[in-house]
Structures are given as C-alpha cells and as structure tokens.
Amino acid sequence: MARIELIDVVKRFKGETVIPNLNLTIREGSFTVLVGPSGCGKSTTLRMIAGLERQTSGDIRIDGELVNDTEPGKRDVAMVFQNYALYPNMTVRGNIEFGLKNRGVPKRERERLIRDICEIAGLTPYLDKKPQSLSGGQRQRVALARAMVKNPKVFILDEPLSNLDAKLRGQMRTELIELHKRLGTTFVYVTHDQVEAMSMGDRIVVMNKGEVMQAAPPMVLYEDPDNLFTAQFIGTPPMNVLPASRLPGLRTEGEGHAEFVGFRPEHALLSPETAELTREGLVIAGQIATRESLGAEQVYKLRCEAGSFFVKSFLNPYVGGDFALAVVPFERLYFFDRDGNRLRRLRAVRPQLAAAGV
C-alpha cells in the first residue's frame, strides 16, 4: 500500500511537451483510473511512475520516498502491460518465477509463492505451458499473477483489458475489482474507455493534453463536472452541449456569462406538445434524426436550431412522430464559460407564467 505523488512533473519528448505541469496525488489503497483520449499523456504518466520513462523535471514520490533516480525494479511497482509482455520463451512458471529469482528469493519460498498465486489465479493446470498456447484470458491471468507474486506496493495496469473480447473484458473487470478489494494495494489503471473507468475506479483522473481536467470519484465526475471536457468525456452518449446564445427560452442569474449549456441525454424528456412544460425546464424543439433502441433504453438524436443533441429515455418509445420537444429540468442544466470551465454559481431562471412564450 502506498501513496503516489507527482509534483510539478514535466515531460518532453524531443522538444515536444507531452506533459506541461502535472500535480497529482494517488491515494494509498485507491483504485485510481487515468482516463483520457489517446495522446493525453496518461500512459506516459503511468510509465513515469513505473520508472520506464524519466520525467524531464519534477518529483515523483512513492510512499513518501523520492524515486526520481530509482530504477524500475527497485520501486516496488508491478506492471501489467496491454499486450501482457509475457516472456514467450518461458513457461507460465518461468514467467512468474523470473522476478522472484532476480530478487534472490530462495527456491523453496519461490515454489510456495508460485503454488499459492496459481491457486488464486486458477493457473495450476497451465504451469508448464508456454504463453503462446494459452488463451487471451489465461495470458491476462499469468500477467496478473506475475505482478501479484512480487507483492508490490503499487499495481500499475496499462489498458490491460483492451485485447480481450467484450464478454471476457466484463468478466475480468469484475475480477480486477475483487482483486483490488482483496489485496488492498494501490492500483493505478490506465484506459481510454470511460465505461471501464467509471465501473472500476474509486477515483478517476480525467486527462487531456497532458493536464488533469478533473480528479474525483466517478459519480462526482458524472454529476458535477469541472469543465466541458470532463462533461463530454464521461457518459454514453456524452453530455449535450449547445451554445447558450441560440437557446431563446433560457435566462440565467448569478455570476458569470454562460457561453455553453450542457445537459445529460438521460435528463431530457421528450414530449409532443408544449403545454405547461416551460415552467418545469428548458424546452428545445427539434426533429428526431435517428432512433436507437437498446431494449431497456431508447436513444434519440435530435436536430434543433442550436445544433444536434441526444436524448436517452428509459420509457416506452416516443410515438409523437418526427417532431418533438425536449424538456430539461432547470436544475439539470450545466453552464460553462467560453473556455469550457464550469460556472457553478450560475442558475437558470424559472420563467414567470406571463413571460412564458416559446
């Protein structure tokens, strides 16, 4: 169990700044997920923690100890790679044993550790097989076993599930969550898949262009995003964002000038007619462009004057034809300034009955 601190970390590759200035604390025992689009610096961050990449400047501490000049093997960090990086010339046993041998663990102790770990990972029947004769899921387990057997302070996982098929991925996701619960070790997990991030992490760090956009528990990210980027990165479909100037029914009060208005697709309600809905929320009229039925939920894409947006509904399919009014409760609206920062002190004004004229 260890806390990881990145202090003023900068990383440049051949004059190109990948990470301009990163300050991040990963709490001990947490399951922290670094998530962001490709090229956002999440893998680089991970590799700097592991020691596979050296930061251009700044400090990295693991468990309070400065590890800037500590080589990867001595950081007490275990890593699971995207393609597992199993030693192809060694058997499953050899793969797990390699790190132990290098640490000078005595043979009898090694055998006990391997036996135990393979019992846990369900690898006992495959101990003498080479990785290439194993399935994707089994290889994944070997990679995990190889990392676990070293009993590290920190577990680092670099998109470990992306090479698995959807079903196995779901299964391994659950197994990893259980594993984290059992071990209690700090997990740092990188993925570009926000669904994976939301379902696994107890803390999510959203990154973009080498900067932390927001670091928070999953539900906070979802319900209270700091900025447009986070708002649009989390959720399927992502948060709808429309320019405030083109939403005529909207009036705001409070601090700041809203440039963009956002709302979650699942918070909008479709209705065929205006009625008294304008008092409840913002009404946006639009044409239904596409409908996706996913069984439990329906996803509609609507086109309105201000742009297109999604509406997700868990009710029966909308039967009002191609025209619809989307109603978003006022308290479900999010406001952002020109730079995409959230305006938390801005509220929508409920229109007076007389002023309601949409």
Binding site: A50, G73, Q82, A85, Y87
Partner: protein
Amino acid sequence: MPSILNRLRPYAMVAPALVVFSLFYLYPIGYMIHLSFHEWNFISPVKTYVGLNNYREMLADDTFLQVLRNSALYTVMTVLLATGTALPLAIWLNRKSAFHAFVQGAIFSPHIISLVSISLLWSWLMDPEYGLLNGLLHLFGISPLKWLNDPGTALVSLVIVAVWKSLGYNTLVFIAGLQSIPPELLEAAALDRSKPWTTFRRLILPMLSPTLFFLVIINLIGSFQVFETIAIMTQGGPINSTNTLVYYIYEYGFRFFKIGYASAAGVILLIIVGTLTLIYFRLLSRRVHYR
C-alpha cells in the same frame, strides 16, 4: 473439359520454374554424379567407366584430406567470428542516431562490393612488403606478418577477409532480430529487477535464437563454398594451406582436366552442403515462433 484445363493450370504455372530448375540444377547434379563414376578429360569422346575408383583415389589422397580439414577449419573460424562479432556489434548499433545509422551503412558496404575487388584490395592490404596492415603493425611495434605467404597465417587471413565481408550483413540481420523483440518485454524484465546480463541471457538470446540459427547455417553453407578469395589471393597455397573443397574441385576439373575425379569431389561437397541444408530445414520447422 474445363475441369481438365483447371487440373492442368497449376502445372502450366509452375512449368517455367520447373524447367529452369531441372535444366540448371537437377540435370547438372545428375550428370555430375554420373561423371563421378567415370574417367574423362573434357575433350575425348570416350568416358571410361571406373566404378568407385575416383572416390577411392580421393579418400587415399592426403591433399584431399587436408582440403577437407582446411574447409572445416575455415568454416568453423568464419562462422564463429562472423556471428560472434556481429551480435555485440548489433547490440551496440541498435540505436537511432545519425552516427549509428552511418556505422550501420559503413559496415554493410562490403556486402555489396564484388568479391574480386575485395580480394584484390585485401591482397594489397596484406602485402608483406608494402601492405597497409604491416604498416599498422609497425606503428604498434609489432614485427610484420607474412599474411598470405605463410602457411601458418594464410587461412586465418582469408577468414579475416570473409568475416569483414559478411559482418555488415550479419549485423543487419541481428539488428532486425533485436528490433523484433517487443520493447515491453525488456521493460517487464526491468520491472522484474533483471540485471542487463540476465536479460540478455534469459530473454534476448532465446528470442534471438531463430536469427542466430539462420545466420549460422547461411554462413556455414557459404563458407563451405568459398572460392573467389582463394582463387585470387592464394591459389590454394602456400603448400595447400588454403586449398579448400571448391577450389580443389576447380583445380582438378579445369586445370588438370580430371573431370571424373573433380565430379567425385563435387559429390562430396553436395553431400556436406546438402546435409547442412537438411539440418537447417529440419530445425527450421521445429523452431519456436515467439508470437
């Protein structure tokens, strides 16, 4: 009707290759085996059947045994040196910098130069009187060597030339092999606290074994067939110290015109190279594909 055409098509497709192969490989091999049981001087219309006489005579010939020994010695030295120096060189050169790229190109250049030019060049370098190598030795205060003119150093001198020529190619193949090792594997090893030497021995070398094996066989077969350098630089001398199998065949065939005898030696060469190739293919099919 179309089914017959369909069945014939594949044969028609491979026919050109088959014709060339038969004409220039199969037929000469058959003819050589046939000739090895005869005595013939290339000109006379009569070929006298002598049974196994050529073989018997050859195996009783001390020169032939020395030739075999020379060939084996030359081959072993060349292969060991050529692969043994290429691997560390490849490890050193497996970097992306202008300097490394230049060195890579520089050591590869002998590979594309004709062997005749190389032989002439090295004859001059190794000249005992005014050669550059002796000049260099002199600089370090070492007494001059007779290189190609001394039976003790002639074969080694030829080995040096062969190694110099093949080094770039071998290094390049090794670099390709090194680059095919996924970098994550080495990172995983680093995280497993593996020391550089352990990583090399337990991971890089095993991953490189197919490459190493390929190079050993290719160099082995190539070395057994060495001819140009010997023909130009030493003519098998001094006192047969650099006489190897192919040169021996050439001398008997085209200088002494004992075609039957030369063919018998050719059959021996065929057996040796054929065996090596067979071993290569046998092991190739069994080699592990690390994927």
